[in-house]
């Protein structure tokens, strides 16, 4: 492949416009089909039995009564999902999470499942399954779990990454460290040092569509899976491996997806549905209830973070240090590691050190959630940065500008930055009218910065040109929020045709080559690169066909604005051939015209954002209200600016919910107490103001159009921005997220009592 991904400044005709998305009409008429909207003939209803205990040995499971119930067609336990992971520890964890083997590791852990002719019988059957548990002591709090007296979740875990291999097992699976310079020396040079500890509670991605799939396994080993997922190719790999199927025989179709935010990046119920179908010999539909979604899917880490930052009187940061403990659920993860990498990524630091500890707890397996691990680290660091600016007597924005990373800065996580947007977002914030707007009593303004890496990855795209000149674009990247529109714009741009002639779809796993999932803000970045590459390949063929039609050498044919042009004076009498004209003749010039692309889109540009918010606090009740909110973020290049704004606004709203009210609440019994939208409080429409956005475009040098990912960074700054605003409003520094009214009121009372 000789595709050149480098940025070239160019004028755009389609990219940067705001047309209606191609999948929109089905979504406003109710016709779009999501995970639970698909049915197959003879389909059964699958239901999962879940552990009521946070930590228990599964001594026995008797399914005989359930199997005898009329209408029950299959009952499965872990025995029906034997371990085929062959030493792949990460896959084994996924398998064990799908169906508990020896122990139930959290409230909601699946222990058995049934398939029956209807939901009523399936529910009855679950009640007939007898599970004998030996309840074990449990631990759900991240700090308690890290303590050496804590109940052990897995006695085979010996902390990795320590200088000496530990002799005793613990709940800390791994220690990681990043940084450079000498923090001791740096702190010695500091005139001011701020040191604080922070906690954040566990949150859920909160997608409105519960996990849902329809699985159908045939006796010959072929199978179909219809599922809402962020990556159907990844789901195919997982399911094929866990069920011992051949990947090419398992066709996975990605339904429309009703939100994922990282929570639909690995399998949960799908292998269970396939195993039920295999046993029953009929298709099985498995849809999680909202209660199951909260208890058994998704959440992000709960964290406990210590931060120490020192600076000179002139505002230069001399040293920065953080210790981060992140909960992983009961399985090993790398969540603290990401937190440790992102914590100080916004700043130019001579001396920096971060240490991360991955901590096992009896909670659901931690999953990625939009810029996973970064918001909590940013909450701690950006709160301390604000406090330090205050102590020095500098403006919070100026202090950040003075210390902001720039091109050539060594990032706190290691490499040296190319062109980046932290400085420009800070300058934009400094001059934003929001910063000068007056505030009333009990209102405060806060701001904070955020960073995310952005990913690229394996991508596959087919671009087919119909004989009428219209273009079908088949992509392997799941569209979570409008990428079919942006990719159609890119195809139109590259081919030089109108957007309305391009129709993009997400192809199933049997129609395209492997494609990574939509995570890490990679959707538009990587698939637009593959689309550009596919379009360029198609243009090569279009030029060849035009050359044939004119009977001239292909080297004399160029492509401009949707037309083949014969260059040179000798072809003066040849009027340009449009894509449509070339397509019409394709049957006689060599057959269908298509462009394909299989590539690894590497070189995703890192992303920075700075947010401003105004918060009003009711000092008598601790109640907060978001008065005004502004997001400034670098997009590299906004392909469809409206959907870029949408990503900024959506991430900010999720961050606001996290900052103020969202949290997993566990009882002393280790059971989740708020597994529903009533008491897991995501923001409602009346909780939020309009969310203003400002898109900056600092081109990514590693993308032809300069595109960076935009999906995740917007959730990183809000926690700290709101904490800083609350501090500026009522003078208390909130160190525990969410800043729920009882926590704010308690902090205010403590302050008032001196």
């Amino acid at each position: 492949m000789n595709f050149d991904p480098r940025f070239s400044g160019r004028k755009f005709a389609s990219v940067g416009t705001r047309p209606i998305r191609p999948d929109g009409i089905d979504k406003v008429t109710g016709r779009a089909r999501y995970g639970a909207d698909f049915n197959m003939a003879g389909q059964l209803v699958g239901r999962v039995l879940r552990s009521p205990h946070a930590h228990a040995v599964i001594k026995s499971i008797d399914t005989s009564k359930a199997e005898k119930l009329a209408g029950v067609k299959a009952v499965i336990t872990a025995k029906d999902l034997p371990d085929l992971t062959d030493g792949d520890a990460a896959m084994f964890d996924i398998l064990d999470n799908c169906m508990a083997r020896k122990k139930a590791l959290y409230d909601g852990h699946a222990v058995a499942a049934v398939a029956a002719i209807d939901a009523r019988i399936a529910r009855q059957a679950l009640k007939l399954i007898e599970v004998e548990y030996e309840v074990l002591p449990h631990v759900t709090d991240v700090d308690e779990a890290a303590h050496h007296h804590a109940p052990l979740i897995n006695d085979q875990v010996f902390t990795e990454g320590l200088e000496e291999k530990p002799v005793k097992p613990s709940n800390i699976t791994k220690r990681t460290q990043f940084g450079h310079g000498d923090v001791h020396k740096g702190f010695a040079e500091a005139d001011f040092v701020v040191e604080r500890s922070f906690k954040t509670e566990q949150t859920h991605q909160g997608y409105i569509e519960p996990h849902a799939c329809v699985a159908s396994v045939n006796p010959d080993g072929t199978a179909d899976l219809w599922v809402c997922t962020q990556g159907h190719f990844v789901y195919r790999q997982h399911c094929a491996q866990l069920l011992g199927l051949e990947a090419s025989k398992l066709r996975v179709t990605s339904s429309e997806i009703g939100g994922g935010f990282g929570g639909k990046t690995h399998v949960w119920a799908e292998p269970v549905a396939l195993a039920l179908s295999r046993k029953a010999g009929r298709p099985v539909k498995l849809v999680m209830t909202r209660d199951e979604v909260f208890r058994a899917s998704g959440p992000t880490s709960a964290t406990s973070i210590d931060v120490r930052i020192g600076a000179k009187k002139d505002g230069t940061i001399t040293a920065a240090e953080a210790t981060l403990r992140y909960s992983c659920g009961p399985y090993a993860g790398s969540w603290a590691e990401i937190g440790a990498m992102t914590a100080f990524a916004c700043y130019k630091l001579e001396n920096v050190k971060t240490v991360g500890f991955e901590v096992l707890v009896n909670r659901p397996k931690t999953a990625a959630y939009r810029a996973p691990s970064a918001p909590m680290a940013a909450f701690a660091v950006e709160s301390a940065i604000d406090e330090l600016a205050h102590e020095i007597g500098m403006d919070a924005v100026d202090f950040r500008i003075k210390n902001a990373a720039q091109e050539g800065t060594r990032a706190s996580y290691g490499p040296v930055y190319g062109p980046i947007g932290i400085g420009p977002t800070l300058e934009a914030v400094k001059h934003h009218p929001h910063m000068k707007a007056p505030l009333k009593a009990n209102q405060g303004r806060g701001m904070a910065c955020g960073f995310w890496f952005n990913f690229g990855g394996q991508t596959c795209t087919d671009l087919n040109i119909g004989m009428d000149g219209s273009v079908s674009l088949a992509v392997g990247t799941v569209d979570v929020g409008g990428s079919r529109a942006s990719l159609s714009l890119v195809a139109a741009e590259e081919l030089g045709i109108d957007y309305s002639h391009v129709k993009a779809i997400v192809a199933d796993t049997s129609s395209l080559g492997y494609n990574d999932m939509t995570d890490g803000s990679r959707g538009t970045f990587s698939s637009s690169m593959a689309t550009i590459s596919a379009a360029r390949n198609a243009i090569k063929i279009l030029r060849e066909r035009a050359a044939q039609m004119w009977d001239i050498p292909v080297d004399d044919v160029t492509w401009e604005k949707g037309h083949a042009i014969a260059k040179g004076e000798k072809y003066g009498n040849l009027s340009p051939l449009s894509l449509k004209e070339i397509a019409a003749k394709s049957g006689t010039t060599g057959g269908p015209i298509a462009g394909h692309s299989e590539l690894v889109a590497d070189g995703a540009g890192v992303s920075f954002a700075t947010h401003i918010c105004d918060i009003e606090v009711d000092p008598e009740t601790g109640s907060t209200r978001v008065i005004r909110y502004t997001v400034v973020q670098d997009a590299g290049k906004a392909v469809h600016p409206t959907y870029v704004e949408g990503q900024y606004q959506g991430g900010a709203a999720q961050g606001i919910g996290w900052a103020l009210n969202e949290e997993y609440i566990y009882g002393k019994d280790g059971r989740l107490q708020n597994a529903g939208f009533l008491d897991y409080r995501i923001p409602v429409c009346s909780d939020l103001p309009m969310i203003d956005t400002q898109i900056l475009e600092i081109p990514n040098p590693n993308h032809p159009y300069g595109v960076r990912g935009v999906g995740e960074t917007s959730i990183v700054p809000p926690l700290a921005a709101i904490a800083n605003a609350v501090s500026n409003a009522v003078g208390v520094r909130m160190t525990h997220i969410p800043m729920s009214p009882p926590r704010i009121l308690a902090a205010l009372d403590a302050e008032r009592e001196g």
């Binding site: 990454g161 940084g179 990046t265 290691g414 040296v416 890496f453 990913f455 890490g520 803000s521 690894v600």
Partner: protein
Amino acid sequence: MVEVTLWGSLSAVAGGKARHEIEAKDIRELFRKLAEQYPGIEPWIDRGIAVAIDGTIYRDTWSKELPEGAEIFLLPRLAGG
């Protein structure tokens, strides 16, 4: 010859040494030579290592050439949302 820096945890596997001079033309060769020298690194490579070449992160393009004198930094491969 390129100078490669390993992040904290990986350098622990490489005898506590963060900086390494290695003769490698691309990422594939770099990984091979590192694994030859420090067998403990192999499982880390299997789990996924990202390579920053002059600040740009590559996760999967093992054929990526390492320009002479380039700044090479190894990082863990991450999950996203």
